[in-house]
Symmetry: D3
Subunit: 143 residues, 6 copies
């Protein structure tokens, strides 16, 4: 298959998975409401402990309702953060994945354009602040 062509490990086949990996694969699909395990999780499954650590961490932050955690951010805002980070890092897999998630949440290309515009703006001003080595304006810490 095409999505297995370039990964540096052989992706774990969804059907052949058993034990802890199988349970996590099932939880990923149920929690995210999807019917296929995305490729990154199939790569992580080559090291089951890592699969578990990453999924635990992502589930708590991106699906807080599934672990009974209260959240002050809505699901769309969380995906927007994910896309902002991924575009800034230039992670191809991640940009594709989070754009697809936003799209599923009803984000149209006009709004995507706004998000991208802000991401690009701050990559630009970050370079300016670093390039001029400007000291932070003083403000008291948050509490």
């Amino acid at each position: 298959m095409n999505d297995e062509r370039q990964a540096t490990v052989r992706l774990v086949d969804e059907l052949g998975a058993s034990g802890k990996v199988r349970q996590i694969f099932d939880d990923i699909k149920a929690t995210k409401g999807i019917d296929r395990v995305p490729a990154l999780w199939r790569a992580l499954a080559t090291a089951p402990d890592e699969l578990e650590l990453v999924w635990t961490s992502l589930k708590a932050r991106m699906h807080p309702e599934a672990v009974g955690r209260e959240s002050n951010l809505d699901a769309k805002t969380r995906e927007i953060i994910a896309l902002a980070v991924s575009a800034t890092n230039g992670c191809s897999y991640c940009v594709n994945s989070h754009t697809a998630a936003l799209r599923k949440q009803g984000v149209d290309q006009e709004t995507l354009g706004e998000i991208m515009g802000i991401v690009s703006l701050f990559n630009s001003t970050n370079a300016l602040a670093e390039g001029y080595q400007v000291e932070p304006d003083v403000f008291p810490p948050l509490d």
Copy 2:
């Protein structure tokens, strides 16, 4: 002053500014509802054309109402994107500036913790996707 200690250019003094720089300084304060020009703009003012280009670009994206542009994102979401990009890039000036802005918008430290958690999560998964060179899951482009 302390905030002028390490910048590689001498920050333009707010009171001494005239012409285009003075106008933009006034617009920055009016648009943002602040009574002092932040240090980055005072650094950019050493090259007035650049000051104008950066302010035009930031005003349109972060203060769309001020230029009669419709926006599908609210002001808090826009600042969250700014913080996500700045934390990912490790830009000290920018992190301080956007944390202060979020705070002014009423974001408490619990919510800041959630934002940081998501930013850190995707810096982590970005490294995994790149480290395993996982190919994107196929999905049709947005339109």
Copy 3:
């Protein structure tokens, strides 16, 4: 077409563009002396306000003569900066685009090698300065 395969939005067709998008597409081709709109602009055209903001910003900095702005840098130096930033960020589209621009300006592969050598050198020393946390040598700000 091949260049539309992986973008997360459907590139706006050059021939089908109208209104503001059409005008900007025409200006891009005239200003750059090319007969086809590069893919990044066709992606940005899905959000016309962003297309306009990015083009205004790029035109002023990369084609200052077209907006009556004086420049202290020549066109080749400007493209070299573009390539240095793009190689440092690992942006595939951008590296390809700016290498093509340099080539059009007569840069041969020996000179490209020199540019790359310097880019790689400073990515190396940047890591050293950060890895040892060396404090800046003192020097007065520029003015």
Copy 4:
């Protein structure tokens, strides 16, 4: 001294250096026409082999005339590349060092503003190209 406060190694004192380190320190000062060894080299001197490798590499690329190598770039362009990379990476020591070098070569703050503007512009478009995952426009390799 102030510049030794935060480095993670104790900077090698210029006067106390002997053998290979002393020779390289002398060569750095002579080649660069400065009368004090910058802090990064004093940090590298804690591992003399590394000092030698880094200096050999930097001398060949930034001072080609000192090693009888022909160059197609002038000294100012080379420093501009160094600053572009350093601002993009957000390396504080490096931004300070290369701004000082440009200043010594007569670059004024207007030109610095132009350089920064271009650096910030391409950090912005890099994020856009990655954020939309635009495929490179086709062009043949350089040769």
Copy 5:
């Protein structure tokens, strides 16, 4: 205190901590064999759920013996990875923290120099591979 000056949140005082935060602070000190909670954990304690998620994740990967997990890497190699990532990202807090950890494990400055040399080398070749857009040499995935 000095380490609270610039953080954007007020660091949670070690003595005043209670409940989950207190337990985790105690676990951090016991697991790492230190008598003071490092500043990053005191910042994270402003959002206790995040403190827990980050500590769970770090404990499993950096102190596998404490959670009954088998490891194929020794403690020094794990810290070397931490330093390599931190130097590459230019994270000041992190570079300081992991250099201190390596030092505690007996790493001298010669070996630190070797590590830094390799980190700088691959930041350099990464830029070259991206700058020339070289395609990967073909090799079969690991399994």
Copy 6:
């Protein structure tokens, strides 16, 4: 050939190489015990001086025994650093190359998972330390 499709320069053919390039190609193959010159070196060969500078630098750090240099790190640890840096930078060519090298040294996918887990962990905590702008815990420099 496939590996020449997207590079921005035409890779130098191994068989057609002569003079300095030929010698370095032969040294690369002998030192690394491989029978084909990897694509990055064939790209660098378009600028022979750069090829020499990069190879000298890499040979000394990754193959110290070949230049009579003592090393405190073993070959596997050196490749792990290379992979950690490359995954952090998201360099596709480099991740593939260093994963192949680790594999040749007998690293299995469980250990690769551990390495990736640590790389992803510290990309995560780096973002946290930067996002909260935490000041370094005080410790004396190494010497």
